[in-house]
């Protein structure tokens, strides 16, 4: 064989080996279909546990599109790579996961691989769910398999360009998937460790609160630095937290479990759905999460220097934004003024809420326009949606007014853009 020939063969072999390795990485066997297990075959207490975990992981948040068809999928998640459709995870044998064995389910949760071997996109946060314990995954399986089977497949997810080729996700997994349960931190309490398992695992808090790199993977080096999701800004949950009051475990517990933090604000945007789900999770689990997340913010400015004095620069705000001042007085003060009923009963002042202190006005603008509505007529913090009552200019003026009046931070620069985006 010539030298060139040997080189060619060598390159070919390396390529072949590379392809083989890639194939080995990317190809996954199909796991056999099973007959959907009879719901009665699952232990009832186990199913109840699974229900708690499903609320904690908020499966319905992504997998339920039409409330009358829970977990039937169909909801589109906007990602930088295109729309990813959440699938049907009811136990329907053909359209859902009814034919999935426990093993298949675990593989999906830990590695993002469907029963038939298809690679799922990490918009399904298996990079978090992989940290769940075996027990949790089994309990979740028991719960899912005892739900109402609903026919109907979600639309196909078609991402553009190379991302449309699912096996490339294998490369993503190789780089970014840290598979399996997390080892306990012996220097911390068992409650903290439990909270960490829940938050990093099924809770997948980092999925929204940690910024992502250009491949859509969480930037672990900047864990909990804050990130954007569906137009809302999930603020930092670490030393960069812009909150002016400390997020103590008690405060976080109240927020997560009731949707209202006495010294911050009511949960809005995506957190409204999260806290509604967490309201149904056992106290001790929510408390553990609160302890863990609070520990991440131990070095936040508010944790070191609580600023309880409400900021209310009424005159300055009146002077700088006279139109908005009148708007506020007629449209907002009825609930938010000190003498107003909800304020009389101890609701937090606007200057304590994080949205006004963020670097961007987006959350503030969205709250004004969308309000807060507990679903299905449940009890809870309520605010009307002002989108139809105010023009774009009025929302902008109001947002600027609120920033001036209730914080001592500099004015936002991108308010018109935030309003335009929220209108879409």
């Amino acid at each position: 064989m010539t030298r060139g020939g040997a080189l060619a063969v060598g390159i070919l072999l390396v390529c072949a080996a590379g392809v083989a390795a890639a194939v080995a990485l990317a190809w996954h066997p199909e796991i056999d279909r099973i007959t959907p297990p009879a719901p009665g075959s699952f232990d009832r207490y186990f199913v109840a546990e699974g229900e708690d975990l499903a609320k904690l992981g908020n499966c319905a948040g992504c997998h339920t599109n039409d409330p009358s068809e829970p977990l039937a999928g169909g909801r589109a998640l906007d990602t930088p790579f295109g729309k990813v459709f959440a699938t049907n995870i009811t136990p329907h044998p053909d359209d859902g996961i009814g034919a999935w064995s426990g093993e298949a389910f675990e593989r999906a949760m830990r590695r993002g691989i469907a029963r038939d071997g298809t690679q799922l996109y990490p918009a399904f946060p298996y990079d978090h769910f992989t940290h769940a314990t075996d027990h949790q995954i089994e309990a979740l399986y028991a719960w899912l398999m005892t739900r109402r089977p609903i026919a109907g497949r979600a639309p196909e997810t078609r991402l553009a360009g190379i991302y449309g080729f699912r096996p490339v996700v294998a490369a993503w997994n190789a780089l970014y998937l840290n598979e399996g349960p997390l080892p306990a931190d012996a220097s911390r309490s068992s409650q903290w460790n439990r909270g960490r398992v829940l938050a990093e695992g099924l809770g997948h808090c980092g999925g929204c609160h940690t910024p992502r790199n250009r491949f859509g993977a969480e930037d672990i080096a900047r864990a909990y630095n804050g990130a954007w999701t569906e137009g809302w800004y999930a603020p930092p949950l670490n030393a960069h937290s812009p909150a002016v009051r400390p997020w103590t475990p008690d405060e976080l517990f109240a927020y997560l479990h009731t949707g209202l933090a006495p010294h911050h604000a009511a949960a809005a945007g995506p957190m409204a759905g999260v806290t509604r789900a967490l309201a149904q999770v056992p106290d001790e689990d929510v408390r553990a999460i609160a302890v863990y997340i609070a520990s991440l913010m131990a070095d936040a400015p508010a944790s070191k220097h609580d600023q309880p004095q409400p900021v209310d620069r009424l005159d300055v705000a009146q002077q700088q934004h006279p139109d908005a001042a009148a708007l506020y007085a007629g449209a907002c003060a009825t609930c938010h003024d000190p003498g107003a009923p909800m304020m009389q009963l101890g609701r937090p002042v606007l200057s304590w809420g994080t949205p006004l202190h963020e670097d961007n006005p987006h959350d503030t603008v969205r709250i004004i326009m969308q309000g807060l509505t507990p679903p299905g007529g449940a009890s809870g913090p309520t605010m009307p949606a002002y989108a139809d009552m105010l023009s774009d200019q009025q929302v902008q003026d109001l947002a600027a007014y609120l920033r001036t009046r209730f914080t001592d931070k500099p004015a936002w620069s991108n308010v018109p853009a935030a309003v335009a985006e929220a209108r879409k």
Binding site: R44, P70, Q136, N193, D337, G376
Partner: protein, 741 residues
């Protein structure tokens, strides 16, 4: 002289005529005058005929949105043989109408309807007599029709002309014949007279009143009963633009302004400095246990004899309960008051203008004649809400600005925070079964009073705030057969060895009073749930089980009609989240009969209860306006479903946490039933029976029974909220749960 002689002749003629008359008796029990007539027997207190033929009918009852204005007009129009549009009905006004107490307890048709029926029959007879004399024919030949008396030969005389020749200052007689023949407007679905204004922006409510020179006021209070504002910055608020006056009397404070919004802004400013509790702390977030444990006065409700149960009888004991409930009037209470010429006039939506007048007179230290209370419609009150208190607030404010009408409007949170609530209640039921038969029955109910309606100044919020304050009267139980907490505690079923005790709890942790149905909603919920539990224990169909113990024929018919219309025979097996339920009661065992059948579907994931279908049958005696009855029953069903599936007033140590709709959600459109179908059983010539409260108990029990059928488990504590449904479905493990992680 000639006039007198003619009248004397008429009087004699009347005696003769009455002796000769036949036909059906007017409503009323024999020779004893019904309540309203006993109090006010003069005909002209009820009916006046003007010289121009206009007929004014006076009722001491008030239109609450229950359709009484229309129904009473129909009764009068029918008996007087005129068209409804010829009648001007004047409602509750202390200067003009009879005193018929409070418009409550579903008594309006029974009391006022009966009174007007009798009075109208009397007036018609007198007019007919007068016409007969003028026509010189026998009274029996006169036909009364369309506001005129007609002779067979075609002559006619209008009522106006006839009325000029006689006096209605005579006492009503009970044995007047009811009108026979002719077109009857009773039993017709006459469109409600008040609706046109309500769908066109007409002036329909006290909230719509505008008087010249009117000022706007707000009362200043803490967030809920048992609190007060502290350190209100009165000096600063007095200087706010438009503020006319801040009225203070002891702890009472109100602010008057030239424009409504300015009054609101002033109110917020006055409340800005905070509040404090004036009463002892509230014991718990939900007070039913508290009431159950407080000292109680035991009052027997019923004692039916029967042989002792055999030793091997099966014993079943269960407990049912409900929390405090809110009236939640959609329009917060409002009143207009004017202090002029040493007299106070108050336009109010209070259910009882006469008792209110008495209380206001005491509060303002005025003679009774110096106070006038005029009923003007408010939004639905469903019992004793803020109407009386706001009337007092308005009166005190008006007194500070003589000659100027003052419109005082409660805020939403004031209505939520201060309205007297429907008491929380606990019912313990016990029965023994001898084989498949009920051998004994026991009903114990705990409750606060169901009426603190003010008859004295101490019964008004303002009365307790002024200096010196008036003492609130001691709460008292309402005696049976009407009853408060004991209402409907005695089962309509002919059960042997049956005993019931009402444990009257005098001490009120929070302010309570009459809420639609009073204790009946809880007692019927308990009885009808328990009947189902016994039916299940004896493996009997729930409807058949009831019929076996139900002797009252009209009750049986209501039950059968509802069951047939619902197609109860073909109900499914339940247990898979879908179920059907049935319940029946005769309100107070005196008023309307109401049977309700219901289909539910429980979403086990969310705990939400969907109600695709409801069927009801109601017997209200002679149905004056059948559609009005249907409307009340439909509404009662929906409202009762809201109470039963959602509602519970929440508390913390210092105040009601349910301060607005966000903290006290009620049923919204997406959750109301799919279909409600009400059959009205008409009983011509039977006494009118009140229908306004008849559905509250049966609807709530039918729901509980349907849910039990759907889930195979029974919920006994209202509300059957999503949280409670899910908690009931959740298996409770015997061993501790394995730690997650």
């Amino acid at each position: 002289m000639k006039e007198l002689a003619r009248r004397a002749f008429l009087a004699n003629a009347l005696v003769v005529t009455f002796a000769l008359s036949r036909s059906a008796l007017a409503q009323g029990s024999g020779t004893k005058l019904p309540q309203s007539l006993a109090k006010t027997p003069e005909l002209d207190a009820w009916i006046r005929v003007g010289a121009d033929g206009t007929i004014t009918v006076f009722t001491g009852k008030a239109e609450l949105g229950q359709g009484i204005r229309t129904a009473l007009t129909q009764v009068a129009a029918h008996e007087l043989a005129v068209l409804p549009k010829q009648i001007d009905l004047v409602t509750a006004d202390t200067a003009r109408t009879p005193d018929e107490g409070v418009t409550a307890g579903s008594h309006s048709m029974q009391d006022s309807g009966t009174a007007i029926l009798n009075a109208a029959a009397n007036v018609r007879a007198l007019l007919a007599e007068a016409a007969a004399w003028q026509f010189a024919i026998a009274p029996g030949q006169v036909e009364m029709r369309d506001g005129a008396a007609h002779a067979p030969d075609g002559r006619q005389i209008g009522y106006g002309e006839l009325a000029a020749s006689l006096s209605l200052e005579v006492a009503v007689r009970l044995d007047m014949p009811r009108r026979q023949g002719g077109k009857s407007v009773i039993g017709q679905d006459l469109p409600r007279l008040d609706i046109p204004a309500k769908v066109s922006g007409g002036e329909a409510y006290v909230q719509d009143m505008r008087l010249p020179g009117m000022l706007h006021a707000r009362v200043v209070r803490g967030p809920s009963d048992g609190t007060k504002v502290k350190a209100a910055d009165v000096a600063a608020v007095e200087k706010m633009p438009g503020v006319v006056k801040i009225v203070r009397d002891g702890g009472f404070m109100a602010v008057i302004a030239d424009h409504e919004w300015r009054a609101v802004k002033a109110l917020h400013r006055l409340q800005a400095s905070g509040w404090e509790r004036t009463e002892p702390p509230i014991a718990a977030a939900d007070l039913r246990e508290t009431i159950h444990r407080l000292p109680a006065q035991d009052m027997p409700i019923f004692d039916y004899p029967g042989p002792a149960s055999p030793a091997d009888a099966r014993s079943i004991r269960v407990r049912y309960s409900r929390p405090h409930l809110m009236h939640g009037s959609i329009g917060p209470s409002c009143a207009m008051a004017l202090w002029e010429n040493d007299g106070m006039t108050v336009w109010t939506h209070s259910q009882g203008v006469y008792p209110l007048r008495k209380a206001l007179a005491e509060l303002l230290k005025l003679d009774l004649e110096k106070v006038r209370c005029i009923h003007v419609e408010g939004s639905g009150c469903y019992g004793h809400n803020g109407a009386d208190d706001v009337a007092a607030d308005a009166a005190l404010a008006a007194r500070a600005v003589p000659g100027k009408p003052v419109r005082l409007q409660w805020m939403r949170e004031q209505e939520h925070g201060w309205e007297p609530l429907g008491s929380a209640m606990v019912v313990e039921m016990a029965a023994e079964l001898d084989g498949n038969k009920v051998a004994s029955w026991r009903h114990d109910v705990w409750s606060n009073t169901h009426s603190t309606r003010p008859t004295t100044a101490g019964g008004l919020l303002a009365g307790r705030e002024v200096d010196p304050p008036f003492v609130p009267p001691k709460p008292k139980p309402i005696p049976m057969p009407e009853g408060g907490g004991a209402r409907n505690g005695n089962p309509i079923y002919a059960l042997p060895n049956a005993h019931g005790v009402f444990h009257f709890v005098e001490q009120m942790p929070v302010r309570v009073s009459a809420l639609r149905g009073l204790g009946a909603q809880m007692n019927v919920f308990a009885i009808e749930s328990f009947m189902d539990e016994l039916a299940l224990a004896t493996d009997t169909d729930p409807v058949a089980f009831r019929l076996a113990w139900l002797k009252d024929e009209r009750a049986r018919e209501a039950v059968q009609r509802a069951a047939n219309r619902f197609d109860w025979r073909r109900r499914g097996d339940g247990g898979d989240g879908s179920g059907t339920g049935f319940a029946f009661a005769r309100y107070k065992n005196l008023a309307s009969y109401c049977a309700v059948a219901m289909e539910v579907r429980v979403d086990r994931d969310s705990g939400e209860i969907h109600v695709p279908r409801v069927v009801a049958a109601v017997d209200s005696g002679e149905a004056v306006n059948p559609d009005g009855i249907r409307n009340q029953i439909e509404g009662g069903i929906v409202q009762s479903l809201s109470w039963t599936t959602r509602e519970a007033v929440g508390f913390d140590k210092t105040h009601r946490t349910s301060f607005d709709w966000s903290g006290y959600p009620i049923l919204r459109f997406p959750s109301v039933p799919g279909r409600i179908d009400v059959e009205v059983i008409d009983r011509p010539n039977q006494p009118f029976l009140g229908a306004g409260e008849a559905a509250q108990g049966p609807a709530s029990a039918a729901l509980a029974n349907a849910v039990a059928h759907a889930l195979g488990r029974r919920l006994r504590d209202m509300p059957l909220s999503p949280e409670r449904v899910k908690a009931a479905l959740r298996p409770v493990p015997v061993v501790t749960k394995q730690a997650a992680g």
